[in-house]
């Protein structure tokens, strides 16, 4: 038995380090010993799952699972779009969050990515990146609320999501927009938080050439809001909206 054959069991239980997987798979192609062993040992490993006591499932679980998938996560169409350029999206996100909007910690980034993508489990590389990010983060971050944003009028094709994140005592709002029409010269999109008819400025953004935009806003302590509105403003930094509303929580 060659030295490499010792790795067969580790390969089967998926405990082989990433850099040893490929060399082992090459070994497997040529090693008759491993070839003759792998199927039966794999089946044995899987057989261990039968050692389970059947339990009754709470009735309410189905609704909870379906809500978790269909309400708290993006529609599949959007998820698919994201999956096409996961890497660049993650890189961009990291860049934006760490350089431009430094108040958000690495932990927030990790949760944000999980929330936005939901495809996390498929892409191992992405998963590792996130695990690495999570391990660096101190306190756990949670998505406490998510919103769907719908475009109207000139931004009728636009859509987006907003996430309220809690990290320790800090609350941040992350707004991600897709399909936004281009803005001219000074024009910006401005995010407003609405509560009892009052508007709080939560920042401005200009979409990239693909019409995507992302903004993060750290909420003042104990600040709450009911709705999110987005207007197209003729110039940045207005304290009250002057332009027309183009998006909102539905």
């Amino acid at each position: 038995m060659e030295n490499k054959c010792e790795n067969l069991s580790l390969y089967i239980i998926d405990e082989l380090p990433e850099h040893e997987k490929e060399p082992f798979e090459r070994h497997l192609k040529t090693c008759i010993h491993c070839q003759s062993e792998i199927d039966s040992l794999q089946a044995t490993w899987q057989m261990l799952s039968y050692d389970v006591e059947e339990t009754d499932v709470p009735e309410s679980l189905k609704a909870e699972v379906m809500d978790f998938i269909f309400i708290e996560n993006e529609t599949p169409l959007q998820a698919q779009e994201v999956s096409n350029n996961k890497q660049s999206f993650l890189e961009r996100l990291k860049l934006i969050l760490t350089i431009q909007f430094s108040p958000l910690s690495i932990g927030v980034t990790a949760v944000l990515v999980i929330g936005l993508i939901g495809l996390l489990w498929i892409n191992l590389h992405l998963r590792d990146t996130i695990t690495a990010l999570e391990n660096k983060a101190g306190s756990p971050t949670k998505i406490v609320k998510s919103f769907n944003l719908k475009g109207q009028d000139l931004a009728g094709l636009a859509n987006g999501n907003a996430y309220l994140l809690k990290e320790g005592s800090d609350t941040s709002l992350v707004v991600k927009l897709n399909n936004m029409p281009k803005t001219n010269a000074d024009e910006v999109y401005q995010v407003w938080l609405l509560k009892n008819g009052n508007r709080q400025n939560a920042g401005t953004l200009k979409p990239d050439q693909n019409g995507n935009g992302l903004i993060t806003y750290r909420l003042p302590k104990d600040h709450s809001f009911d709705e999110i509105g987005i207007t197209l403003e003729p110039n940045p930094d207005n304290t009250q909206p002057q332009g027309q509303k183009v998006m909102g929580t539905s």
Partner: protein, 196 residues
């Protein structure tokens, strides 16, 4: 579209096309198994079990590759997803607690429970029964290895630390254990030697 009559593979194909009833049908078919499995991995924590079940079905919903039967039985695939997610969950917890702790009584308790299980379920699940039998042919350290590794979600190096043995010893113990179980299964289920 009638999803009830579809095979698991066909349901996955429909899920790739974002067909929600297909996901619900898979839920109905497999939730009991996934729930029971996760409950064992979380040592009976129903909250954590719920989170794992949610993530498993989210994972299924976001599957963008069709499942092919060449990869083995669908249920095994499903359970390996479940196990991976559960381990992620368990390991995250362990990290939060700082160091990994071994309660030496824990595996013993588990074993006692399992022995009781066998008595209760004798006629219910032949495979499970055989598995229990097979496990009884293992040495104590071998049984402990399986419990920590498969159900406890510990990595081999963590187990080496717990057992205060070199990693190499644990690796070869794993190999011996799998082989022993396999040989037992082969003997028990092969051909005419069914039943005793």
């Amino acid at each position: 579209m009638v999803v009830k009559s579809k095979s698991d593979e066909e349901l996955i194909e429909l899920i790739v096309q974002n067909h929600r009833p297909a996901l619900e049908e898979l839920y109905d078919r497999y939730v009991k198994l996934i729930y029971s499995f996760s409950l064992k991995m979380t040592k009976g924590d129903t909250e954590k079990t719920k989170e794992i079940v949610q993530l498993v079905f989210l994972r299924l919903w976001t599957t963008k590759r069709t499942y092919s039967s060449e990869k083995g039985k669908f249920v095994n695939w499903l359970l390996s997803i479940t196990r991976n997610i559960a381990i992620d969950h368990i390991r995250k917890e362990q990290k939060h607690q700082g160091t990994v702790q071994l309660e030496i009584n824990e595996w013993q308790q588990m074993q006692d429970q399992q022995t009781d299980d066998v008595l209760q379920q004798v006629s219910k699940n032949l495979l499970k029964q055989q598995l229990q039998e097979a496990k009884r042919h293992l040495s104590e350290p071998q049984q402990r290895l399986i419990d920590l590794l498969y159900w406890g979600g510990y990595s081999l190096s963590e187990i080496a630390e717990l057992e205060q043995k070199p990693l190499g010893t644990i690796k070869s113990r794993l190999h011996q254990t799998l082989k022993k179980l396999r040989n037992y299964f082969n003997e028990e289920t092969g051909g005419v030697r069914h039943g005793k």
